[in-house]
Amino acid sequence: MNPITGTPAAVTATRPETAPPAPTRAETPQPVLELRGAAARVGGRTLWSGVDLTVRAGEFVAVLGPNGVGKSTMVKVLLGVLPAAAGEVRVLGGQPGQSAGARIGYLPQRRSFDPSLRIRGLDVVRLGLDGDRWGVPLPFGAARRRDRERVAEAVDLVGAGAYAHRPIGQCSGGEQQRLLIAQALVRRPEVLLLDEPLDSLDLPNQSAVAALIGRICHQQGVAVVMVAHDVNPILHHLDRVVYLAEGGAVAGTPAEVITSETLTRLYRSPVEVLRTADGRLVVVGQPEAPSTHGGHHAAV
């Protein structure tokens, strides 16, 4: 036993970007997510195709691309809600949707709670643990104690201890997002699918939540797939990016993919990637998808 309390954050901070992650979970030889020539079609229109991607435990992958290109659809394909139109998709060694539930954590596109909702953040996290069970939970016993500990652990992991007891409607956007990440993590999933979790957060909260997700990913050995509109807040936490385009896709490390040449080839129109003095990337000339709908289908 080594007293690791408090040290992991420092270790991660000093570790160079290229070092392999040190997952606490036993390393599985086979990848957590695997896509081979995968394509998605919604309403007869091919959104993207030719996606080749392998994600292992403890890797942080961003799904990028213009509005309406089908970034959220990628999450739905991985969840098994939508079948892939072509190619092969394997999630945790099986078909997508087969091993749903405990092994996959999912955070849908930004949803905020009504300010008048009188349910504690703690209860929302708890619903992520047992909300899909039938019947009334017993108010006593070992199972209840275990559940409470698990919820408290998840809340601590995202640093939400100070406000988890408040009604969630009264928490700020950043606080709600942290609690929702705790909800997605409470069953100790092996894969975390996040759909624009930084959307509509202010800049300090964007980088704080991005750092939190990066920390969870690398420390807990959770494979993270995050749909993002802007790559900058997460850029230095990322292991891999997937850029989606109409009818195509390209995957690789950020340095390989987010370049003028690669994106110009992908979008078949001039795209320029500029690097600012502080290391931020600006993508100029990225086409918007032709359709005004797509990618934003309400998931009901």
Partner: protein, 302 residues
């Protein structure tokens, strides 16, 4: 101390008062029916307030009126009229709404359509009946006189069924109400639960309407639940509190209506409203106190 000035004078000795009231069989039935209805309305109403489906609840309670009018017109049992119409209206709302979102735009439009049509039907049934003018008033504002033992049995049987279904699906319903997207991702049948809940809501309003009348159903469906949710944000406690408040205001209302010559619905609504105001004031006070100091107990963990 026993009072000697008449059988129906209120003494401040509550024990003696209850003994006196319960010496009348119709009052015993009234208290039994009131208890059954308050428990069901408190539990189902709690979910209704949480799901912001008060408009659907309002419509279903309005529908109790044409239900009772129809039952009177064709001469069938009143209870059957209440339950039949309320549950049918719940299914109609569930079938007509387009989006699955509770409290959403599609549902509120469908709800309005059902309410307008069924209220018009109620008016027609009354016109066709052409009799007994005090009938509509009891239908609208409730009555606790003449509740029979059979009626109590029907109320209790429906209540047990409603509470049993609610207990089985309660946790999933809470998940689907608070966080429908994630619940659906976890395999919770959000739309099915939503329809089932509307049926429970129909049954619960039909129960409450038989005591409070169609217009005052909200006294038992909304006020106890809203009061409880003001007082605590813990789901379990809040739900139990809602039931307890409903039970208290119903029994207090019956007590008041026995000793004073004013309608039961007025008393029940007034007590429930007073409880709501008190809870609101208590929360405002707690908010002021929290702002004056007392930092949060736990520091940020990361």
């Amino acid at each position: 101390m026993p009072q000697s000035d008449g059988p129906t004078a209120f003494s401040w000795n509550l024990l003696a008062d209850f003994q006196q009231m319960w010496s009348y069989p119709f009052m015993v039935n009234a208290f039994r029916a009131g208890a059954v209805v308050a428990v069901v309305a408190g539990a189902v109403g709690w979910f209704m307030v949480l799901r912001r489906q008060t408009f659907a609840g309002h419509t279903l309670s309005m529908v109790a009126f044409p239900g009772a009018a129809f039952a009177t017109l064709v001469g069938m049992s009143l209870s059957l009229g209440y339950f039949g119409f309320c549950v049918a209206a719940a299914l109609a709302i569930a079938g007509l709404r387009r989006d699955g979102q509770p409290g959403g735009a599609g549902e509120s439009a469908a709800t309005g359509v059902v309410q307008a049509f069924l209220l018009a039907c109620g008016y027609l049934f009354m016109a066709l009946y052409k009799g007994l003018l005090e009938g509509p008033q009891a239908l609208l504002f409730g009555s606790f006189l003449g509740i029979t033992g059979d009626q109590v049995l029907i109320l209790a049987a429906v209540a047990i069924a409603v509470l049993a279904v609610l207990a089985v699906m309660g946790r999933q319903l809470l998940f689907a109400s608070v966080d429908p997207q994630v619940a659906a991702g976890r395999g919770v049948r959000v739309r099915l639960l939503s329809t089932l809940f509307l049926v429970l809501l129909g049954a619960a309003t039909a129960e409450a309407a038989q005591i409070t009348g169609a217009l005052l159903v909200f006294a038992l469906m909304v006020l106890p639940a809203a009061t409880a949710q003001q007082l605590t944000a813990r789901p379990g406690r809040s739900l139990l509190l809602s039931v307890a408040i409903g039970l208290a205001v119903t029994w207090l209302g019956l007590l008041a209506a026995f000793y004073w010559p004013y309608p039961l619905g007025f008393f029940v609504s007034t007590f429930a409203f007073a409880a709501f105001l008190a809870a609101h004031a208590a929360r405002a006070l707690a908010g002021v106190r929290a702002r004056q100091g007392r930092p949060a107990l736990l520091g940020g963990a990361a």
